[in-house]
């Protein structure tokens, strides 16, 4: 197994004593597509910026390709692509000139890929950036991050300004990037369906901490909605382990449970003498349940 591209241990950041991220430990292996979820202010952008070394950590450590992120050498930077939340393009230039400027910093640049994507995404390379729509600018930002075929692509809410067609094209491209199993993608998004469609690993940040992380399938198996149906009234002190939310109505109860397992299902059925039915949740449902 190859070494992880990104490793963070007990990573934390605080501004003037106010913590904005605390105790985050993660690893990103080659081939991972990680979706980062969290409410506004949960610490998603801070986490991504710490991983890229934009700002020094106030606790713990972050490493990228084995180097401390904050002191990343130039050769390692050539293996990273980044799309910021708001584009940082140069208004005065044409799209082609902007691409030319950014491309010149990298030892290798895939012109054919950029040209193909610009055609597919309908980005007019002759147009001045100042005259582009927000969506066009975002597409161009993504092109700039993909052109040097980075090993690690980090995107901070990359699809927020894109229409559904462009979003789908973008997602297909990300899958293509990670398809060879050598590259990794970490992206944050509020569009949970996109994360569900794309990611094989999920990080959920809540109140500046990593609330849950792991494979997407494991998350779906871990957090479920449980329906309990008994022929008699359920006990007043109905205790379901790791319950996130519980609704009871005489002989029936519905609960959302974390760390669910088949053992727990059997045990609960025996204890209550009731039928226990498990309903898998969509990622959006899981996210909403975690934040109720």
């Amino acid at each position: 197994m190859s070494a992880p591209y990104i490793v963070a241990n007990a990573l934390g950041k605080s501004f003037n004593g106010t913590p904005v991220l605390a105790d985050v430990s993660i690893a990103v292996e080659p081939g991972d597509i990680v979706g980062v979820l969290g409410k506004n202010g949960a610490g998603k952008t801070t986490l991504l910026e710490l991983l890229l070394g934009f700002t020094p950590a106030t606790a713990g450590s972050a490493h990228l390709f084995g180097y401390e992120s904050y002191r990343l050498p130039g050769a390692a930077k050539a293996r990273v692509g980044f799309v910021p939340q708001q584009d940082e393009l140069i208004n005065q230039l044409s799209a082609a000139d902007q691409i030319g400027v950014i491309a010149s910093f990298y030892p290798s640049w895939d012109d054919a890929l950029v040209l193909r994507l610009s055609r597919e995404w309908e980005v007019d390379l002759r147009q001045r950036i100042k005259g582009m729509s927000v969506g066009q600018r975002q597409k161009l930002s993504i092109l700039l991050a993909l052109g040097h075929r980075p090993d690690v692509l980090i995107l901070d809410e990359p699809v927020a300004s894109l229409d559904p067609v462009a979003r789908r094209q973008f997602l297909e491209q990300i899958i293509e990037v990670a398809a060879d199993g050598r590259r990794s993608v970490v992206f944050s998004s509020h569009i949970v369906s996109d994360v569900e469609r794309l990611a094989n690993r999920i990080w959920i940040l809540k109140e500046q901490r990593m609330y849950w992380q792991g494979d997407f399938d494991a998350l779906k198996e871990s957090i479920v909605r449980v329906h309990v149906r008994a022929t008699h009234a359920l006990p007043a002190s109905l205790a379901i382990p790791n319950v996130l939310r519980l609704q009871r109505n005489g002989t029936t109860a519905t609960a959302v449970v974390r760390d669910w397992s088949a053992d727990l299902q059997d045990r609960l059925a025996r204890q209550l003498g009731a039928e226990v039915e498990v309903e898998p949740l969509t990622l959006e449902d899981i996210f909403l349940e975690l934040h109720r």
Partner: protein
């Protein structure tokens, strides 16, 4: 190397307009210098018959200079592009981004300074002077001047605030005064210039390289030293002043004293014995400052949207209120300039008539730049930009003319009357534009370009 070259090419050719300006500059410099060197005797004054008429000689003589100015202007994307890349996340993820960006800026300025030195060399090619000394002197002075000049563009372009404009004014004065001092004293050794260049670039490079590491500490220091007193809180003035940024007129007004005192030191070291032509640079610098204080009005249209939403005013009434607010704001700065003019003028025995013309000129400078600022209600177009530049040049020319010893008072009065009429016309244009103000066309970056 590839990135440095690409950045340099982009600075000069990033837009179609810059491509044209740069091309003209290169052709003008090379063609003009070649004509100057290989078509002798060009000037009849150098002895021997000239094969050209006077106007042809004038064109040929001025062509390299025009080319040089165009070439330097061609790189005017440097401050904007540098600032944009330096403040973006790209600088963190581009391989060796910070070093390459800095190298490209230094190489561009060196190239411009080299072009200046070569053109100057062309001028002195057939003279008896030692060409290596001419080259060194021209290169040193132009490298420092260009460095300061682009720093002015960067400072004024990145900040629409009074402090940004003040710092810009400070560097503008240095840009104008240092070469004058150098030219005035040609026997002065070059070492001082090289040291100044090294210090300027050393400080800039150190600040740029260490910026990410000490950004937090610098922000805290700035907050402790300046923010609490000047910028971070607001506890006075009306709502209109707060929304359109005219709440602290004293800051700009008192801040002007510093560049004036520095210019005083550089011009004559506070010595009262002055040559007859000495009032000229004085009036010139003070007129520039009066224009600068008025430039703050260019932010008015963008920032007035919040006022429009909150107050039940017509657009015409909004214009009157904003105009009043800016006059209130700028009158503080104008007041300080007038006091400085009278104070400095009295100290240096400047003639009373010059002081009187100067006072009127400062008022006109403030009025004209205020209305030019208020006229900017959408993207800064070519006509507005040319108009603004023409007015600024006119003000400076009148300043030079008014302070000359042989000036006729009637002519100065007539010129100033013409400027009064221009100010009234500008006010009328601004009022009409505000009557049809469209905030969709008022981009936030408009005032930055305008103030630049």
């Amino acid at each position: 190397m590839k990135a440095v070259l690409r950045l340099m090419v982009t600075y000069f050719t990033g837009t179609p307009l810059l491509r044209g300006i740069t091309a003209f500059g290169v052709i003008g410099m090379i063609g003009g210098s070649a004509a100057f060197m290989y078509l002798p005797p060009l000037l009849g004054s150098q002895g021997g018959p000239s094969r050209f008429s006077l106007w042809q000689e004038t064109v040929l003589t001025m062509l390299p200079v025009a080319g040089l100015l165009s070439f330097a202007l061609g790189a005017s994307l440097l401050p904007a592009l540098f600032a944009r890349l330096a403040s973006s996340h790209y600088i963190y993820v581009l391989p060796y981004g910070r070093a390459k960006l800095l190298a490209s800026a230094f190489a561009t300025l060196t190239l411009v300074a080299l072009a200046v030195a070569l053109v100057v060399l062309g001028y002195y090619y057939r003279s008896p002077f030692a060409l290596d000394l001419v080259f060194k002197r021209a290169f040193a002075i132009s490298l420092l001047t260009c460095s300061l000049l682009y720093t002015v563009l960067w400072l004024t372009g990145r900040s629409g605030s009074a402090i940004g404009l003040l710092v810009g004014a400070l560097v503008t004065i240095a840009t104008l005064v240092l070469p004058i001092r150098f030219i005035a004293w040609p026997s002065q050794p070059l070492a001082g210039y090289w040291v100044a260049c090294a210090l300027l670039w050393g400080a800039f490079a150190a600040a740029f390289a260490l910026a990410p590491r000490y950004k937090g500490a610098f922000a805290r220091l700035k907050q402790a030293l300046i923010g609490r007193r000047l910028g971070a809180s607001y506890d006075g003035g009306g709502e209109i002043d707060f929304l359109i940024g005219t709440a602290r007129p004293w800051m700009l007004a008192l801040g002007q004293v510093i560049p004036i005192l520095i210019a005083t030191y550089f011009l004559n070291g506070f010595q009262r014995a002055m040559a007859p032509s000495a009032p000229t640079p004085w009036l010139f610098f003070l007129t520039i400052l009066s224009i600068l204080s008025g430039a703050a009005a260019s932010i008015a249209a963008t920032r007035s949207r919040a006022l429009w939403l909150r107050a039940h005013w017509t657009r015409a009434e909004l214009f009157r209120r904003v105009e009043d607010a800016f006059w209130r704001h700028n009158s503080y700065a104008l007041g300080v300039l007038l006091v400085m003019l009278v104070g400095v003028g009295t100290y240096f025995y400047v003639p009373t008539s010059t002081l009187a013309f100067g006072m009127a000129l400062l008022m006109l400078g403030t009025a004209l730049s205020t209305y030019v600022g208020l006229m900017i209600t959408r993207r800064l177009g070519w006509i507005d930009a040319c108009l603004a530049v023409a007015v600024m040049l006119a003000l400076m020319l009148v300043a030079i003319y008014a302070s000359a010893p042989s000036t006729r008072a009637g002519k100065v009065v007539a010129l100033e009357a013409l400027l009064v009429v221009t100010a009234l016309v500008f006010r009328d244009i601004a009022r009409r534009r505000w009557t049809n103000l469209d905030w969709m066309l008022c981009r936030a970056d408009t005032h930055v370009r305008a103030s630049t």
